[in-house]
């Protein structure tokens, strides 16, 4: 196989991500259903995961667990230097080690971050592969590097690429920003900082690759089986029709597994050379270095407001660092959520010699929401108005700050109402920092916006067998959200069955196409596609039952495992019996075709947090979070609540603990493990109260459902930070709010 330039930049850069969601012109869907009128029994109820049993018995096969005959283990040699030129690579000693079956060079020329792949080996045992790596002789010429944003922005800093380290990538304006400031009674400017976050899914990245002749099968821990297949085809130069990608279970991704990874290509190349299947599992350190991160941000917001709380101007300048990749667009919340006629945004990437960023659960929105919502709290304080009232005062019904197109459905005002009640918003300090004592309490809140759309042309099949068994099939991914479960419940509800009667098949590119599980698109893509297939099946079966029962099709009711006459219920035929009439299995093809143009389809939410801060130690304890989300129809109440709990937990974790720490002298990552990169544990989790606004979107798809994967992650850190502000009277303005930052902020307040 000709050596291709392997893939070093992940396919899904965080900016390309946004292009998916821009208000696209889609074709008008064939039928515009009225999903808000439908009432369901199973859909939306509390349904336990149908794959739960497999998981709790340890039977669920993750990519780590794949066993194949003759499997070899692959390991990758990574550059230890933050910037270097590869002078030579000698694989001979590695190749000659007994047990080594393949060794390949992966990179020539310049490496731009510590962790970039240089070579790889495959051996019969992992231990041998590790030894072989140590035998590979690489000569590097080290070059000047820069690994922190601050240093990268300095005059004379080493250049990461062939262009200055600071590059503008977003320029937006509406209205006249200077006019906006002139109209304001109060103008305020504040700067907020967020750190680089690492995804750290529980299951580290990994792939298994196996060739059978010219056909390649890849088992990948991925959120995007079709993305992996198609990009793999391009990179390897082989037809996509000869590649199958399988993902049964995945131990978390959060965006870091949203496309083809370079080690997957390596597995395929090694497998070809060794003529045996190869498994590559990344270590936790590799997960810290080179499979993605959430870019940092340094956001300065200048805003103008009238005394009555009307926003007149908002200006965001953002410096965001995604390593060798571009940063995150953090400006969507400020552009979209609140009514504000005059707005300006400038966003710059700051390049550093560190691993490339990748979409991380709500890219840009998490950072942008922290800054925007923090700013609004501080602004509210300046004019002496309740910060919740400030949000409500500038409520919009159209997107882009009320200047664009109408939202198809928006329940944010109800989120505010319900959430405020649950947390007891009236208990907050009227003035931030009120109260005395060493331990202070405070309440804070934050709004959330995200896109709720699915991917048009998502396909799903329902297969009916003559023995009465039913399959629902879609090439989607269940990344822990319960996709399998609602595929079963939708099918069951539509066909009058129970979820346990439905066999769900997902995670294989031989199944009908589905996009990647990212951007909170899975539910609003897969659910309507499955529903479409189920409705078609129901339609067909109704006609079949009608002819058997000698009644008209529109009087046939499907329920409780049978088909019966509406006017004469005893006239019925059992589901199983009806299907036995089929000549062969029948397949019904469903598709989610799209949504009407002219509307903005977003999800909304609000988190309200209560914290306790020890002003002498700077330690923060999050006591309670009330989270209310509007996501259209909730497909499964139980798993939806789990998503929200997860978002809150991750938000608390980043608000208080998480940051990637780089050292500018060594160029190394100081915390490449889970001891020093601190994740929240069970002892850090607050009490939570969760609710969903009872609202179904009337036109987004045939179920009126929007996505929930990212929304709960967006306002969680911001709400905690704002609660700390309310407790202390000074906003820490930086995440994570570690004790040293809190003490610094208190000192800032003293000084004044």
């Amino acid at each position: 196989m000709k050596k291709k330039e392997y893939l070093s930049e992940p396919e899904d850069s965080t900016l390309l991500y946004y292009e998916e969601f821009r208000d696209k012109e889609t074709e008008e869907p064939e039928q515009i259903p009225s999903p808000e009128k439908e009432k369901f029994k199973i859909i939306g109820a509390y349904t336990p995961r149908i794959d739960g049993e497999k998981i709790v018995t340890g039977q669920a096969p993750y990519t780590h667990d794949i066993k194949l005959r003759g499997l070899l283990y692959g390991k990758i040699l990574r550059c230890p230097h933050a910037c270097a030129e590869i002078v030579s690579v000698d694989l001979s000693k590695a190749k000659n080690l007994p047990g080594v079956k393949a060794a390949i060079q992966l990179k020539e020329g310049r490496v731009k971050y510590a962790g970039e792949q240089v070579a790889a080996v495959a051996a019969v045992e992992e231990k041998t592969a590790e030894e072989a790596l140590e035998l590979i002789e690489v000569v590097y010429k080290t070059l000047p590097f820069v690994v922190t944003e601050e240093k990268a922005m300095e005059e004379g800093a080493p250049q990461v690429h062939d262009e200055p380290n600071i590059q503008k990538f977003n320029d937006y304006s509406r209205g006249d920003i200077e006019k906006g400031f002139k109209e304001a009674d109060v103008v305020l400017e504040r700067t907020y900082k967020t750190a680089v976050e690492i995804h750290h899914p529980a299951e580290t990245h990994g792939s298994v690759a196996k060739w059978a002749g010219d056909r390649l099968t890849v088992w990948d821990s991925t959120q995007a089986i079709f993305g992996v297949r198609d990009t793999l085809a391009r990179v390897l130069g082989i037809p996509a029709s000869r590649i199958t990608v399988i993902k049964k279970y995945m131990g978390g991704g959060f965006g870091s597994k949203l496309g083809l990874n370079d080690y997957t290509v390596v597995a395929a190349l090694l497998a070809k050379e060794a003529k045996k299947p190869i498994k590559i599992i990344l270590s936790r350190k590799e997960n810290s270095l080179c499979v993605g991160n959430r870019p940092s941000s340094l956001q300065t917001i200048k805003g103008g407001v009238k005394k009555d709380g009307t926003l007149t101007a908002l200006y965001l300048k953002n410096y965001t660092s995604g390593g060798i990749q571009r940063g995150d667009r953090c400006s969507e919340p400020i552009i979209d959520v609140y009514r504000c006629p005059h707005l300006k945004v400038e966003e710059y990437s700051v390049f550093t010699n560190t691993g490339a960023s990748r979409p991380t659960r709500a890219p840009g929105h998490v950072q942008g929401t922290f800054a925007l919502e923090g700013f609004l709290e501080e602004l509210a304080n300046e004019i002496g108005i309740d910060p919740l009232e400030l949000r409500q005062k500038n409520y919009s019904t159209k997107n882009e700050g009320d200047t664009g197109i109408p939202y198809s459905s928006k329940g944010l005002d109800q989120c505010y109402k319900i959430g405020a009640k649950k947390i007891g918003w009236q208990r907050r300090n009227k003035n931030p920092g009120d109260g005395n004592g060493k331990i202070r309490r405070g309440l804070g809140m934050a709004s959330q916006i995200w896109w709720g759309v699915g991917r048009p042309e998502t396909l799903a099949d329902i297969k009916l067998h003559q023995d009465g068994s039913v399959e629902v099939i879609c090439g989607t991914q269940d990344i822990g959200c319960g996709t399998r479960t609602y595929m079963a419940t939708i099918t069951a509800e539509t066909l009058g069955l129970l979820p346990k009667d439905v066999t769900v098949k997902i995670g294989n590119t031989m199944y009908p196409w589905c996009g990647s599980s990212g951007g909170s698109t899975t539910t609003p893509s897969v659910a309507p596609a499955v529903r479409d297939a189920a409705l078609k099946a129901a339609d067909y079966l109704r006609k079949l039952a009608a002819s058997k029962l000698e009644i008209s099709a529109d009087t046939v009711v499907i329920a409780d495992g049978k088909f019966f006459s509406k006017g004469d219920p005893p006239k019925s035929i059992a589901f199983k019996e009806l299907l036995s009439e089929l000549r062969r299995e029948k397949v019904f093809h469903g598709e989610y075709t799209g949504r009407p143009s002219g509307y903005a389809y977003n999800t909304f939410g609000a988190h309200f947090a209560e914290v306790e801060v020890d002003t002498e130690t700077g330690q923060i304890k999050v006591l309670k979070v009330a989270a209310v989300h509007e996501i259209g129809r909730v497909m499964n109440r139980q798993t939806a609540e789990s998503q929200v709990i997860g978002g809150i937990t991750q938000g608390v974790s980043t608000a208080l603990f998480e940051q990637r720490i780089m050292d500018n002298t060594t160029g190394n990552l100081a915390n490449p493990n889970l001891r020093d990169y601190k994740l929240a544990t069970s002892m850090d989790i607050p009490e939570v109260e969760i609710d969903f606004v009872d609202m179904v979107d009337p036109r987004i798809n045939n179920l009126g459902t929007k996505g929930l994967g990212e929304p709960p992650r967006i306002p969680s850190s911001a709400a905690v930070a704002n609660a700390v502000y309310n407790a202390l009277g000074v906003h820490v303005q930086e995440l994570p709010m570690t004790p040293d930052k809190v003490l610094q902020a208190l000192r800032r307040k003293e000084v004044g």
């Binding site: 709790v56 018995t57 937990t649």
Partner: protein, 160 residues
């Protein structure tokens, strides 16, 4: 150094001749094909590799297999008996105490060992006892609820 190591694995006596310094996690996953115990970090920080040795929860990624000589090892695969789920397993499903599920076997076994030691664990004790097992998806709250439910049911059960 190859040595004969005999121990009980999920109730069955097993004997292997192997390098005693290999970590138990890899013996279980590779040699015995029991993939319920997971590799999460290999450094003892995350708990995804948790198994029970003489009913104590241990990090199998840090435990040389020679240290289980003559002892009883239980993995998640050994928790349910005769196809019937253990109360902990049932409770985890009921309370949706799992999302991606990768940490779940470790969580369940750690909880099992904790309840065996202290069947009357209070919610605070449960939270503290589980604090060494990481869950990136954020299922902690559900996990604590599930353990409370299971503990009640286990009180009425015969000792396993």
């Amino acid at each position: 150094m190859k040595e004969n190591i005999q121990f009980k694995l999920n109730g069955k006596s097993v004997r292997l001749s192997m390098d005693g310094e290999r970590m138990l996690l890899w013996i279980l996953r590779t040699d015995f094909g029991l993939t319920g115990a997971k590799y999460g970090c290999g450094e003892g920080f995350c708990g995804a590799c948790t198994v029970l040795v003489n009913r104590e929860a241990v990090r199998s990624c840090q435990l040389p297999v020679k240290d289980v000589k003559g002892k009883e090892v239980m993995t998640i695969e050994g928790l349910s008996k005769n196809g019937e789920l253990h109360p902990l397993q049932k409770a985890f499903i009921k309370h949706d105490a799992l999302q991606c599920g990768f940490c779940t076997p470790g969580m369940i076994l750690n909880a099992y060992s904790m309840i065996l030691k202290n069947p009357q664990s209070s919610p605070d004790e449960i939270i503290q006892g589980m604090d060494g097992n990481l869950c990136r998806c954020g299922s902690h709250i559900r996990i604590v609820q599930a353990i409370q439910t299971a503990a009640k049911e286990m009180k009425g059960m015969k000792k396993r």
